[in-house]
Assembly symmetry: C3
Homo-oligomer: 347 residues x 3
Amino acid sequence: MSSIRTTPDALAHLLGGEVVGDRQLELTHLRSLESADPGSISFLAQARFLPALRASDAGCVLISPDLRDEVSGRRSAVLVDQPYLAYARLSQWWAAQRRDLQAGVHPSAVISPDAHLADDVFVGPGAVIDAGAVLASGVRIGPQVWVGARVNIGERTDIRSGVRIAADSQIGRDVLIHPGVVIGADGFGFAPSPQGWVKIEQLGRVVIGDRVEIGANTCIDRGALDDTVIEEGVKLDNLIQVGHNVRIGAHSAMAGCVGIAGSARIGKGCTVGGGAIILGHLELVDGVHITAATLVTRSIRSPGQYSGAYPFESNRDWEKNAATLRSLHSLRDRLRALEKQMEKTQS
Amino acid sequence: MSSIRTTPDALAHLLGGEVVGDRQLELTHLRSLESADPGSISFLAQARFLPALRASDAGCVLISPDLRDEVSGRRSAVLVDQPYLAYARLSQWWAAQRRDLQAGVHPSAVISPDAHLADDVFVGPGAVIDAGAVLASGVRIGPQVWVGARVNIGERTDIRSGVRIAADSQIGRDVLIHPGVVIGADGFGFAPSPQGWVKIEQLGRVVIGDRVEIGANTCIDRGALDDTVIEEGVKLDNLIQVGHNVRIGAHSAMAGCVGIAGSARIGKGCTVGGGAIILGHLELVDGVHITAATLVTRSIRSPGQYSGAYPFESNRDWEKNAATLRSLHSLRDRLRALEKQMEKTQS
Amino acid sequence: MSSIRTTPDALAHLLGGEVVGDRQLELTHLRSLESADPGSISFLAQARFLPALRASDAGCVLISPDLRDEVSGRRSAVLVDQPYLAYARLSQWWAAQRRDLQAGVHPSAVISPDAHLADDVFVGPGAVIDAGAVLASGVRIGPQVWVGARVNIGERTDIRSGVRIAADSQIGRDVLIHPGVVIGADGFGFAPSPQGWVKIEQLGRVVIGDRVEIGANTCIDRGALDDTVIEEGVKLDNLIQVGHNVRIGAHSAMAGCVGIAGSARIGKGCTVGGGAIILGHLELVDGVHITAATLVTRSIRSPGQYSGAYPFESNRDWEKNAATLRSLHSLRDRLRALEKQMEKTQS
């Protein structure tokens, strides 16, 4: 990993901005305002972080042209219209400099003679690729990954260490899947019988669109008969459970520990906060935003923000309020009785 | 994977039903009513799906004899007493046709010379089987699985890719364990001391009964001294946490993201909805059903349904109601005061 | 695994206690009071378990000197000041007797020629160690583990089967990491753009202190720019999500299924109950204790216990109370109106 060097001038060229201050300052790190030093680039995403900017030693800062006055005394800055987006793009350039792209198939990988690998794929040590799998150009398979039979993986998709992709899954292009993810395990389907639960074999697939990212140890189950579908541009954080036959619309994003039960349909451009649970067979239209730790128990037909977590408080207050909550219905009845009495009194 | 062909006649024979319509219609797919075509078999599990049946192109449908009139104009149907159970059994037959059962031990697997494997087991690439492990007839070990020392696995049990089974675990017959499951990791046990937490070594085992199914990335910890026990026929979904010394009674089923804290005892035939948390050292009797996202804080002595999630609503309404909830106790006090005043007023 | 034999005398020597009864009784098992037999050692952690002690067949019991009278009729006992802590230490001695420490590097492991391994490390079958990784003396790497480039692992740290440690992570000494853990996957960071989410590359590291324990399938994401930090002595249970740039203070402990969103800062000596969610960019001071299933939505500046779960009840009661909760705000308004009327009436 060689070190990275850049300048405000080069940054302005890369990100499309205007330099203020020293154009040739040597910059070797990308850091938060708090930990930046004179060799560091940082960024100001929102005006409410101005105190941090003022206290920061950053050699160069990406900042909105509106805040030009804030950087007049600084060593350097690059004025960009959307500093957070510019930072995202700079982070990608930075990562690309550091990336150490190996190619080829490690001799310890076990590749079926009936798998089809493009010439330039990378397959790490201990990976297993089953018969009929198709890996397109630029695909990267990390160490100890399992790719099941007839799995199809699109161009440039990056599968990290220890991911499990069961037979017949379809993965798009430019997808990123983090370690420990399980795609295509059986959905949870059983029919009751006098002898106990009878397994319903899960015969559908998982279909994942382009530019999806899936966080560590997240699970996406295969469909029972039809497919489970994750549309393009969806971003899933770690430890999320996606049940069989779920559909998640394009560009929706979900935070860690979310659970989506079977056959739920989530619209496009939705967001779901950490730990929220969405019950099965519901439909959420496009543009629905679910607050963390909310249980969604019925379909949502209008875009907007929905919430449902108990407000936390000191344990002492919680005990009193929770006890009262248990008798809330009778409180309501008592209130109604009082209202009637009051009416009589006043009439 | 060769294609599958069947007929209404063959289905009636397999499932024990009566054919209506074309007995020799060629059927090549098993599909939901919505996506079925004339070559597809589908099923009607409940009368409320009749509109979907009427709109469906399915060539053959499994349906209750009560609804015979609904299929008189269709190409074919098979009348069966319990269509959902019949569908479950058909799905098993279907999966069996597609199954490509390899046998033997892959040369890249690492098998201790002191492990005992029946002649017909399958062990996939990169699997590791430690000393003293016993694999009975028909056991299947997927790629990259780890089976620890002295683990015992019963007949026909199917362990999928990347499962980890720690030393001394006992697994029954006809068990199915999905990718990424961890069985027998240490339970969470520490004694406080002035120098910090002191580890309590976890010396018990995990014991799993026959016909259990365990979903992807679920974790079942070993006992501290006694064993953690999952009784026969239990079905666990993905990403479930089962703490040390938990006992789950026969034929109980739990949805994804459930957490069961240490030493909880769950009865037989219970169900637990997704994301519910059951605290430690509690006892739930047989036939308890816990709604999704409920926190169970004390033992439950009577069968029935128990719930406890905050009802979700628009964020605007939630903010108002949650703020009021924080002062619920004082509301109660004010109501009581009013009632007393009213009594005085009226007397 | 040879069997273990000890005596009350040897226990008193090991744990620093006083023997009551037969000093030379042969003891071969460590068991709970309930399942102990005359060859077993057990312990009494709290006086409320005295009925279990009286019913127990345990040959020897670790017990507080205060309860000396309780053991006068028993075969043997060892009086120790803190029986639970003594049991923890005995469990460690017991585990050490059973431990079967292999050494060396398994020939199927794939070790980069540019990795640095101390002479006495153990590396299990199928493990992969990338360039620049440094494994200190006594480190144990389980089967099928992946250790990324430039990862640093301190003395005696024990990494169990199937753990994934991404590049540049720093792991302290005497750390224990259970199967399936993922350390250093990308944090969840994206900038919105008209074309969808733009990835923010995660350029920070994960830094884990000494004597940390991490439960199965838990995920700790790398920082965006600065590091994610788990301080010394922290204990994390299974299936926990720790977002990017989180800091968890020394000796804090968290139960299973907890989620900590990005940039949250948890103090020292905190505890978090199972399934709790802590939102991002919050700060919890030292000594904060969060009850299970609580959603923490703002910073907590005072030590103490905080709670926020809906109290569970029968589904019937829950339905009535939850419906009323939805109109809680109007209940409050009606109460206020009544109070005003009452004032008028009384004046």
